[in-house]
Symmetry: D2
Subunit: 312 residues, 4 copies
């Protein structure tokens, strides 16, 4: 499986499951992968920012990615390889591509400021990992403090043929999708896949603007899958109805910092993770926050039975 | 009317109405003020960040504030006086307090980093405006890049008696409200009013955490007023039902940068502003964005008839 | 006097003199202006960042600029008009140009990130102040956190004919001067004046790279004038010898934050300012720092008699 | 050798030598270590930020540190272990301490903002690496964008007994040294070693403020050693004379980004590095910059014969 510009659908951002003591929980990785396979995912992204990638050592990263690649079978697995230096990035890329990854994802270091610095960084990254490795450009200013204009993205796409997909999570970001699709129509940029992140907070309209799907870790990827399908099928109001029912919870999970604890808590309640623990440094939910999430789930369950979860 | 720590309910953040050519539109100021009076507002905040305050000259700021203060009658009006220097801050404060403002609001300059710098800044600000002027502490890291811990807010509250209210808009921010109310219960901080901003994105749970109301400019302050009232009255599910119906639109309006154009467009459609224009530098909505807002309004109107607006 | 692209020599950044209680000290403004006239300055810049411009009210800014313009006679005076909004920028520009300013200086707001945002900001600024007002582009990333590549500067220069001068204070910045002069030689950018700031920390080599002079407030503008003259005359080693003798003190004065207190202290010791006070918020020098500056002056006096100052 | 609070003198920040193709150059590591041993260094710090640590893989980091530890014999070697996650930090710490490192150095991630976040980070770091490993607190706001007040440093020192040394490189930073030594005199903070970085730009006065020495990579550590010795011996003017002679070059080497290329170029000319190359991403010097450095060396050689280098 090689990632290409035809990617679409839902690529969940897989969290890395830990036991309470911080060890990696391989049984949960297996369960999670099977769940993605069963809920309409068209790919998986592992070791993203919210996969707690920076907290893992190289050998751990490799083990997690390898297990997921093997378990996912025919499903393409994209591996986050962002690193402070190109040596580590190249090493992880080489190792996971050898083990069957479909491509890699690269986030910009938060020191980049000018257009030239951004383009230059990706040129060097491609030189480091090899021009034959398909890569996903991650555009997440809220987290990485790097602002890429549509023009900068176009330069990267045009200069680096191995850039096949944009993980779009600028905020606000709707006009950016329109601008990029406009470049394509105008013939000034080749086509790339655009899958949306930022917990899917604007997935409803992002699909209508021309996105190809979702690439985010919201705890109900099955909902994301339905929304993408409904929207692609032109069932607009149905897509919005389902999305809106999830929005109160989705917004709660989208909170920076706190959000990953919410996500893991729900995945734990869904029986997919044996523990909701984050590896250090990381937070946990207060009792009040847990009660709020439970309240949100209960309210959601009126509209979507998948949220009717047993308390475990 | 003097602002004090008993402030509660909804203080809308008033936008500054402009004509298409950038001149201030006084008729719309009058209309807007009357609308706030009629929709359950318990106060008004004028010349906030989203009141485009930095784009006004001193005389204009004074004129806008004065008109609103007079028109609002018994309703307390808080005036944003944030400025790059204390001379301008003091001048505007003196002028608006002379004209009957209930208090002022001060945002931190985005160069502040350490706890000491933040506390020191507010000490100097109070020295500049006078310790007899009640002030609202604005805590909005997303916009101002200044992070105030609960401990820093407590220091400001304890050292500066004229701090009577917190405009709470940290994100995530629920635990911060709990922490501050915990300080009050533990007797380590005196009581202050906490009214929530950030377009009300978490107003539903903020009320349950102990907030006293909303201090934001969402285009349906009448909804905010209802949610605050329902929540205070213990009608929890009704409060959430109303809030959730608005959430898709509210989220859309909360987008940084773009949001103010959305807000002014809706207020224009509600017949309150004669033009949706922002003063330069400012944006405008693309045709697609306008269509999206209209779509959101139409969907909202199924739940809240106030969103059933004539196209003007 | 109208500023144009032939500007060269030394434009001192004039500090704004205050009495200890924060009032503006007009006698010191007169003295300072006369001093600049006598020490080889070819122009003066007033109300820059280190002129404490953000701490002044509009009327004060106007009074300071007007006094200096009148006193300076034939010497061109550039006025800093940077402001959080274009209304205030336009108002001050109009007022000072009416009173005889040679041009204005505009710093970028620290929220600008992408190339497009930077270029767009200057386009709007020119629209606000009028295309007939010559302006100085201030490029000071250390203070303003805005990074302009040579390419961005070229776009501003090419798109905005009223941009006549660059206040160059990027750090490191030598290659930027070479790049801009290279654009000129290659015919891809029209000629502009480049005068250097950042307290002159690299003035020695900046002159050799193609700068036209200095535009900074170091407390010995007479030395800057000599270095610029010697360098322009090809007396390279003499220029370096004089510069190097000042470097220990110059470096001390270049410290961010503290530096302005050092500068005003020396100007006070030189008999030009009646007080070394900064307006609030501002710092002051510790007794140890004062002793260090005195030590530096004493050591400098061995090489440059101008540093042999009476203790006042 | 275990690092403790009595550390003093000069701990050069060792660059990591690379061949032009990016491979690590072990012969140069040996040569460099021997040079440090011969020029009065009292310790060595390896794998700092300017040791290009983020560009190395774990195995490479370990190899470089191990070689230097063995070669340095009785001289204490401190190893930079800063990492995006605690797993990698713990792994490298464990490995280098096993191989005889005297302690480790930890820089703060540039996402830390509030006092609590900074203190909390170091608490977690110590938990990760073990409370028995002595560590150096690196305080370098210019590079890491994290601002630590003296009060925050005191909290870290008081709460974490394994903090034995401060790599002081705040700028401006003289008052910080005075504040910390004042805490010690007042009995509110235990004694720690303070060694100064930031290329030694203020080493002359830092020594007089109470610093214990230098911890920086300026290409003439032999000069640093002399200045520290002269200053400690009370030969004040001699210390300043030597320092001032180096200041023009030292300032040139202190330029952010460019500086490391300057440093490696001079170390190459001194015959210590076989190549001046940086590993990617990294820069190189323009021909003009090389000429400037050579000019600076030539001028310096008039005062310090060590700068009279053969062109190689």
């Amino acid at each position: 499986m090689t990632l290409d510009t035809q990617a679409h659908g839902v690529y969940p951002i897989a969290p890395t499951p830990f036991f309470d003591d911080g060890r990696i929980d391989t049984a949960s990785i297996a369960r999670l992968t099977d769940f993605y396979l069963g809920c309409g995912a068209t790919g998986i992204t592992v070791l993203g920012q919210l996969g707690e990638a920076p907290k893992l050592e190289h050998e751990e990263s490799l083990a997690v990615a390898t297990q997921m690649i093997r378990r996912a079978g025919a499903l393409p697995v994209v591996v986050g390889v962002s690193a402070p230096g190109f040596a580590a990035m190249r090493a992880l890329t080489r190792d996971v591509m050898d083990r069957g990854a479909a491509g890699v994802m690269i986030a910009p270091p938060n020191t980049l400021r000018t257009d030239e610095q951004i383009v230059g960084y990706y040129q060097q990254a491609v030189e480091a990992i090899g021009a034959d490795v398909p890569f996903v450009l991650q555009d997440y200013p809220l987290t990485f403090s790097v602002q890429m204009t549509p023009g900068v993205i176009r330069r990267i796409v045009q200069e680096l043929p191995s850039c096949v997909m944009l993980k779009h999570e600028d905020w606000p970001g709707l006009e950016k999708i329109s601008a990029l699709r406009g470049f394509e129509r105008a013939g000034t940029m080749r086509h790339i896949a655009i899958l949306c992140g930022n917990n899917g907070l604007f997935l409803d309209y992002e699909m209508e603007r021309g996105a190809d799907g979702a690439n985010t870790g919201y705890a109900f990827p099955d909902m994301l899958s339905d929304v993408v399908r409904l929207s692609a099928a032109g069932q607009r109001e149905e897509a919005h109805d389902l999305f809106d029912a999830h929005l109160p919870l989705l917004r709660y999970e989208q909170q920076p910092g706190t959000g990953l604890s919410v996500r893991k808590y729900i995945l734990h309640r869904r029986g997919l993770l044996s523990s909701a623990a984050l590896r250090k440094p990381g937070g946990s939910l207060s009792a009040t926050a847990v009660a709020e999430v439970n309240h949100l789930l209960k309210r959601l369950a009126r509209h979507d039975p998948r949220a009717d979860l047993p308390l475990n």
